[in-house]
């Protein structure tokens, strides 16, 4: 049944040296997880990229909110304002097009309004990372609450909640978010909330299945006998016990959210111009694909690398947390 007996526990006490890592150690130690990740080259690469991109996002956010792009203007270019006398649609350095040769001042070229593509790409990190993290957090919290309540109480509560999330999943999620954003607002804030809502079912299912299996464990019964209330049991016993699969799913979900947010911005639902975002840059580049094809290439590469990093790290995390998985 999966629950350990006293005999097992005594056996394990016997040879503490040779025994495999226990569940507590696997779940508990952040250091342990990091060590495991470190052994895995691709996961380490993923982690470093995530740290780098997040640092860029934090830095650009500071520059945007507190400095009003002062840093960008001093060392790069203004990411939003059209430059005076700037050349539009310049190709990347080393290439040539009908708009002239690429120049070193704009290594990736300029967009249709003469703005530096590299600068806009760097400042687009802010939207992607914030939206990715925020949307996942909303889905995580919502899904955890619904899944935990649903799995713990079972019966009618379970039925109603599960039918509802099922229905939520039945509308193709991009369509649902678009409908949601049409009703509430086209801004990136609503994109985050929308993506968060559609990722609720993912976490709900995960937590619910964990809860259903944990619910019958002896220590839950013990906690009940000791007088713990329902919400305490859910909060202090059941949710912490589902920590590791949720962590893995959350990491992967950030990648998925970044993809959806980019798709939404591409359709015009998300960060509104002139705020730079990767999806919206791709949307703007569509009209110039023939004369300036590289304009459509760069933002996509930014999305690709970021999402790959989250997928690599998520996969590595899964291997590190679950001793049974071997690729």
């Amino acid at each position: 049944m999966g629950s350990r007996t006293v005999d097992d526990a005594i056996d394990q006490l016997g040879d503490a040296e040779s025994r495999p890592a226990t569940v507590e150690e696997k779940n508990g130690g952040l250091l342990y997880i990091l060590k495991e990740i470190h052994k895995d080259t691709s996961a380490t690469i993923g982690l470093y990229i995530i740290l780098f991109v997040t640092a860029v996002a934090v830095f650009t956010s500071v520059d945007y909110y507190l400095l009003d792009y002062a840093f960008a203007e001093r060392f790069l270019y203004h990411p939003e304002r059209d430059p005076t006398g700037g050349q539009r649609l310049l190709p990347p350095v080393g290439m040539e097009s009908i708009y002239g040769p690429g120049v070193i001042e704009h290594p990736l070229g300029t967009d249709h309004r003469g703005r530096d593509i590299l600068t806009r790409m760097i400042y687009g990190t802010r939207i992607a990372i914030t939206a990715g993290f925020a949307a996942t957090t909303i889905g995580l919290v919502g899904g955890t609450i619904i899944g935990a309540v649903s799995g713990y109480y079972g019966g009618r509560v379970d039925d109603v909640l599960q039918r509802f999330t099922e229905a939520l999943y039945a509308i193709p999620f991009l369509v649902l978010i678009i409908a949601f954003m049409t009703a509430f607002g086209r801004d990136v804030t609503f994109a985050m909330v929308g993506v968060g809502i559609v990722s609720i079912p993912v976490f709900n299912r995960l937590i619910r299945s964990r809860v259903v299996s944990v619910r019958e464990e002896e220590y839950i019964a013990a906690a009940k006998v000791a007088g713990a209330k329902d919400h305490q049991i859910i909060l202090y016993h059941i949710i912490p016990n589902s920590f590791s699969p949720v962590l893995v799913q959350a990491t992967l979900q950030i990648g998925v959210s970044i993809l959806i947010i980019a798709g939404l911005s591409f359709l015009g639902f998300g960060a509104q111009p002139p705020t730079p975002s990767w999806g919206q840059m791709l949307a703007e580049s569509r009209d110039f694909m023939l004369p300036a094809p590289m304009y459509s290439v760069w933002p996509g590469i930014a999305i690709l690398i970021t999402v790959i990093a989250f997928n690599l790290f998520g996969d590595g995390l899964q291997d590190a947390l679950d001793p049974r998985t071997e690729n």
């Binding site: 039918r163 509802f164 099922e166 229905a167 939520l168 999943y169 039945a170 509308i171 193709p172 999620f173 991009l174 369509v175 649902l176 678009i178 409908a179 949601f180 049409t182 009703a183 509430f184 990648g255 993809l259 980019a262 798709g263 591409f266 359709l267 999806g279 791709l282 580049s285 569509r286 694909m289 023939l290 094809p293 459509s296 290439v297 933002p299 996509g300 999305i303 690709l304 999402v307 790959i308 997928n311 690599l312 690729n327």
Partner: protein, 332 residues
């Protein structure tokens, strides 16, 4: 239970889900700022006129009554009237739905035909170069935005090489007379394939990558089963074991993923139809939103939901076909 009864049973089962879809869509659309009154009349219109327009669109009734009326209409196949196109919503959607379904089916056909062999080979040669390549391909596949793949395909294959058209889609069953440049059925079919290739790849890549991942891990599991060991012990050739013993059971998780992927693919169709300027359901909903054509927005959203439900039922039926142990809704 017979197949037909099972399908009927599943359809009845999805009624509550459908009801919630309609309710959510109705409430969302109802919240959209800007109603027919503000579209047809100037802000300073006399109150009698406002009242008249409101009465015509039933806006003077309470919310629950309007919802009930709408629901009654939906049950009868009436999704309302499109202000922008000047025709019933149902008619407009039936015109566009085949395009999206065709595109989605093509995408899955492409995805499955590549991912299944790739996954099997990958599982068979675990941790060999072929496996590594297939894993990298699927990693990139799940991490690339589909609409960006579309843009790159257009740039390279349409603009640079001039091999495929960059926009539009021709349905294979379209009337040759209605297609410019086509005279016979063969022409239409050729044009259809020619147009469909790029959008199919763009829409199918994500599915391809996801199915490859599942196919691989599912085959790895399946090849470890006792009956595979037994078959080996009996001395069956490896090829037979792979094909007859391991493959079939391993397809069940794959079908589940395909069912779940339907939602992604139908949503992805919105993006791909925008990139390739294909007049399907996805482009319809975006245009409807931009035209403030709200009954059409509602209708398209609901039909997207229905399409997904039907797709899931189809995969469930296939599930029972692939695994003889599963009976249609049976107790065993």
């Amino acid at each position: 239970m017979s197949l037909l009864r099972y399908v009927g049973f599943r359809l009845v089962q999805s009624i509550p889900v459908l009801f919630i879809i309609i309710l959510v869509t109705f409430l969302l659309t109802n919240r959209i700022p800007g109603d027919p009154v503000s579209i047809f009349l100037s802000p300073g219109a006399p109150p009698e006129l406002v009242a008249e327009v409101q009465a015509r669109y039933g806006l003077d009734r309470p919310l629950y009554e309007r919802f009930f009326n709408y629901l009654l209409g939906v049950v009868q196949g009436d999704l309302g009237y499109s202000i922008h196109y000047g025709m019933p919503v149902t008619e407009k959607i039936l015109e566009r739905l085949p395009v999206t379904v065709f595109l989605t089916v093509c995408a899955f056909a492409f995805a499955i035909s590549i991912s299944v062999p790739l996954g099997v080979i990958s599982a068979k040669r675990r941790n060999k170069p072929t496996d590594h390549i297939s894993r990298i391909v699927s990693l990139i596949g799940v991490s690339t935005p589909s609409f960006w793949i579309g843009l790159l395909l257009i740039i390279f294959f349409s603009f640079y090489l001039g091999l495929f058209p960059a926009t539009g889609l021709v349905l294979p069953w379209a009337d040759p007379a209605s297609i410019r440049g086509a005279e016979t059925r063969i022409d239409v079919l050729l044009m259809s394939v020619h147009h469909a290739i790029l959008p199919t790849i763009a829409l199918g890549t994500l599915q391809m990558a996801q199915i490859t991942r599942i196919e691989r891990s599912s085959m790895v599991e399946s090849l470890r089963e006792d009956y595979v060991l037994l078959a080996r012990a009996y001395g069956f050739p490896e090829r037979t074991i792979l094909r007859k013993h391991a493959f079939r059971v391993a397809q069940l998780p794959v079908l589940t993923i395909i069912g779940l992927g339907l939602s992604t693919a139908l949503g992805g169709a919105v993006l791909i139809e925008t990139v390739f300027e294909i007049n399907g359901m996805g482009r319809l909903i975006i245009q409807a939103i931009n035209n403030q054509d709200y009954e059409l927005v509602m209708g398209t959203t609901i039909v997207f939901g229905i399409t997904y439900i039907v797709g899931v039922i189809i995969t469930d039926v296939l599930y029972a076909y692939v695994d003889p142990r599963v009976q249609y809704g049976g107790d065993s």
